[in-house]
């Protein structure tokens, strides 16, 4: 307001004096309009940027949720392996998160999509409690393969899902015959048993020279260069090959929690059917105890022993529980 008066006074004075010096005179209305215009423009740009960011986040979250939903058909229920190809609309990073706290832990999946040269921030996590995805923490690509295999220990605990990008291939040239046959029958393009390209990850079973991943079947261990992890059953062997150590150990913990819960359910079922002429013959509390006391994959051998005992007892039982 002060400036207006000054300006007006100057104008009047200048007119009186006939002074034509180069002083730019801006009326209050113009000044006010410019200031407010700049503020409105600033807020409009700010809102647009925020809206675009939200849109990117929404898009990533939607994709993450879609991926989580698409994992449902991978529950086979028949003891068979199955593979599915997943194609995302743009090049993306699927971020695999695992938490082992709580009753069953959490499987978190989020997607970060590529915009220009960079990846956007990952969308909201899709959380699942009954899924177990084995992969690196971040898997990048446009096409992905999801290969699932049931984990039976001794009863079916869950289907394990192995997530790989079509951009990375694994070479199983010296794998045992049954593994090679299984992989060939899957027909997954990035799991090769012959004619491996030079950039593929070499998975060795018999020798450990020039290998990216070494599997020692006698020790039941896998080394990906991040330290040893241990497995029992073929399903966990694949899991150890495809997953980073941290993810693998976390998912094994989660699987043991579910194994414990299922062992207790089978124990209760045994009591229910004991009233129908089925004698109580299978000790499942030992299996539940060993599963609950697992610290890391090195303890799997203890659980395996309890699982084998339970399997033998179940096979001999008058009424099989599973």
């Amino acid at each position: 307001m002060l400036k207006v008066f000054i300006s007006k006074n100057n104008k009047m004075l200048n007119k009186k004096r006939g002074d034509k010096s180069g002083f730019i005179q801006i009326s209050f209305a113009w000044l006010f309009a410019i200031v407010i215009g700049v503020i409105i423009l600033f807020f409009a740009i700010y809102a647009s940027v925020k809206l675009i960011g939200t849109e990117e986040s929404v898009s990533s979250s939607e994709t993450g949720k879609e991926v989580a939903v698409l994992l449902n058909p991978l529950e086979t229920g028949f003891g068979e392996e199955t593979t599915t190809r997943l194609t995302l609309p743009v090049e993306s990073q699927i971020i695999n998160g695992c938490e082992s706290f709580g009753d069953f832990g959490e499987q978190e999946i989020s997607v970060s999509q590529k915009k220009g040269r960079e990846f956007t921030d990952a969308g909201v996590d899709s959380v699942a409690y009954n899924k177990y995805i084995f992969s690196n923490k971040s898997v990048q690509g446009k096409n992905f393969y999801l290969f699932s295999k049931p984990f039976e220990f001794p009863f079916k605990v869950s289907d394990l899902i192995f997530l790989t990008s079509s951009e990375e291939s694994y070479c199983f040239t010296d794998a045992p015959e049954e593994i090679q046959e299984e992989l060939s029958s899957l027909g997954q393009a990035n799991l090769l048993v012959e004619n491996c390209p030079s950039q593929s990850k070499k998975v060795c079973f018999s020798s450990d020279s020039n290998c990216d991943i070494t599997v020692k079947e006698n020790e039941k261990s896998v080394n990906r260069g991040e330290g040893l992890v241990y497995y029992e059953t073929d399903a966990l062997m694949y899991a150890a090959i495809f997953a980073e150590k941290e993810i693998y150990e976390c998912q094994v913990q989660r699987l043991m929690k579910r194994l414990e819960a299922l062992a207790l359910i089978y124990n209760d079922k045994e009591n229910i059917i004991s009233g129908k002429g089925c004698p109580v013959e299978v000790n499942l509390l030992g299996l539940a105890d060993s599963a609950s006391s697992l610290k890391d994959s090195a303890d799997l051998i203890v659980v395996k022993s309890a699982a084998d005992d339970a399997e033998d007892e179940n096979k001999r039982a008058y009424c099989e529980l599973w």
Partner: protein, 184 residues
């Protein structure tokens, strides 16, 4: 005297200019309020459209999830028959196991990511009574999760259990027709 001086002050040209400027400021303020209101309304309109489409996407994904889940949940380890009734079969629920599960539902809160899960006998038609350890298997439905709001999908399933013959100690497998209802 004081009034006279006041009227003199009011009538000065600078004060007249000030009043004019105040009017302009008022006009500008009203205009600004109108512009702001317009922008807010436009923004809200955009957000409503955006969120309605987001809501559609959420519903679509939930529906797809329920559809996929209803055909697969019967095969999950907590429900499936496994090899307990001979060869493994798809869409076969071991009701003895489900009865055991109902006693441990507190551990399974939110586990399947669904709002409701119910199993009903169709043939032979059950009594319609909720199953409990006292009346099982003379009952008609099992409400594993309370049926909440949401999209319900159902699928036909075999409901199998162990039974003992009345006049002997022989145990046999009994399978009946039922349906599983999943609400997401």
């Amino acid at each position: 005297m004081k009034n006279k001086r006041l009227s003199q002050v009011r009538s000065t040209p600078s004060m007249l200019g000030q009043r004019k400027a105040q009017m302009k400021i008022q006009q500008m303020a009203f205009m600004l309020i109108a512009v702001t209101l317009f922008l807010v309304m436009a923004g809200m309109f955009i957000l409503v459209i955006r969120f309605s489409s987001l809501q559609d996407t959420v519903e679509l994904l939930e529906e797809r999830n329920a559809l996929l889940l209803v055909s697969k949940i019967a095969d999950s380890p907590e429900f499936s028959c496994g090899k307990a009734f001979g060869q493994p079969r798809t869409n076969c629920i071991d009701t003895d196991k489900v009865m055991a599960l109902t006693g441990r539902l507190q551990d399974y809160s939110g586990f399947w990511g669904i709002n409701g899960l119910e199993i009903r006998w169709i043939y032979p038609a059950g009594t319609g009574v909720e199953c409990s350890l006292d009346n099982y298997p003379a009952c008609g439905k099992m409400s594993i999760l309370a049926r909440g709001e949401g999209i319900g999908k159902e699928n036909f399933v075999s409901l199998c259990r162990k039974e003992q013959e009345q006049d002997s100690s022989l145990v046999y497998d009994k399978c009946e027709l039922g349906r599983i209802i999943v609400t997401d």
